[in-house]
C-alpha cells in the first residue's frame, strides 16, 4: 500500500508545483511562463486525470467494502475486491512525470524508456506482492 500512497503523493506534488508555477507567472504577468511549454501542459493534464481516476476507483472500492456482508459461520474471505484499487493510474502518473522530466533534460532518447518500463514493472510487482500478502496472511512485513 505504501507504494500506491507514495505514487499518488508524487502526482499531487507534481500538480501542486506545476499549478503554482503557472499561477505565479499569470499573477505577475511574467515573461517566462512554463504554460508555454506544450509538454508541461500535457503532463499537468495527464497527472490530474490519473489522480482523478484514482479518486473514483477508491470511492467505488470503499462502496464495495461497506456494502459487503459476511455470512454467519464464514471465516475466510473469498474475494479480493476490497483491495481492488488498481495501481494503474498511480503508476501512470509517476511514469508520465519521470518520462517527460527526463525528456526535458536529456532529450527524447529511447534508453530511458527501457529503464522506466522496468522500474515501474518492479513497482507494480511489489504492489501485487503486498496485496497478496495482505489478503492471505494479514499485514505485510
Amino acid at each position: 500500500m505504501q507504494w500506491i500512497i507514495s505514487l499518488m503523493v508524487i502526482g499531487l506534488f507534481a500538480i501542486a508545483i506545476l499549478s503554482f508555477a503557472i499561477g505565479f507567472a499569470n499573477d505577475n504577468s511574467s515573461s517566462i511562463n512554463i504554460a508555454n511549454d506544450p509538454q508541461i501542459n500535457t503532463l499537468k493534464i495527464q497527472t490530474i486525470g490519473n489522480v482523478t481516476s484514482f479518486e473514483g476507483e477508491s470511492e467505488s472500492t470503499y462502496a464495495s467494502i461497506i456494502n459487503s456482508t459476511i455470512a454467519a459461520g464464514s471465516t475466510t474471505t473469498t474475494g479480493s475486491g476490497q483491495y481492488a484499487i488498481t495501481a494503474g493510474s498511480s503508476v501512470g502518473a509517476a511514469r508520465n512525470i519521470l518520462l517527460i522530466g527526463y525528456q526535458k533534460i536529456f532529450g527524447t532518447g529511447s534508453g530511458f524508456g527501457i529503464f522506466i518500463t522496468t522500474f515501474l514493472g518492479i513497482i507494480g510487482f511489489i504492489t501485487i506482492l503486498y496485496v497478496v500478502k495482505l489478503w492471505r496472511a494479514g499485514l505485510p512485513d
Partner: protein
C-alpha cells in the same frame, strides 16, 4: 584592447544583470547550480555533524524548492532566464519530490 565578452553598460545599471546574462548565457544556470549545492551540501553536512546522519532527499527538495522560487522570480524580468532553464528547474524539483516520497516508509514522518 579586445575583450572576450561585450561589457555591460554600467551608466544605466538597471539592466546590468540582464546585459551580463546576455553576454554570458551560463551565468544564471551557474548561479542556480551554486544555490542548489550550497543548500544541499551545506544542509547535509550540518545535519550530519549534529545528528550523525543526513536526510539526503529532504535536503534535495529544500534546495530545489529554493532554486524553483528563484527561477520563478527571475522569470518576471524579460531576458534574465530562458523558458528551457525554468522548465528544467521545475523538473528537478519534481524529481526531488519523487525521490523524497519513494524514500519514505509508512511509519516515517
Amino acid at each position: 584592447m579586445s575583450y572576450l565578452f561585450t561589457f555591460p553598460n554600467a551608466t544605466t545599471p538597471d539592466n546590468i544583470l540582464i546585459q551580463t546574462a546576455t553576454s554570458v548565457p551560463s551565468l544564471i544556470p551557474a548561479f542556480l547550480l551554486f544555490v542548489f549545492f550550497m543548500i544541499f551540501l551545506g544542509g547535509i553536512s550540518r545535519q550530519k555533524l549534529r545528528t550523525g546522519t543526513a536526510d539526503y532527499p529532504m535536503w534535495a527538495v529544500v534546495a530545489s524548492l529554493g532554486i524553483f522560487m528563484l527561477s520563478l522570480i527571475m522569470g518576471i524580468v524579460p531576458g534574465l532566464i530562458s523558458l528551457e532553464y525554468t522548465v528544467i528547474v521545475v523538473v528537478i524539483t519534481i524529481f526531488s519530490g519523487v525521490w523524497l516520497f519513494l524514500d519514505r516508509k509508512v511509519n516515517e514522518q
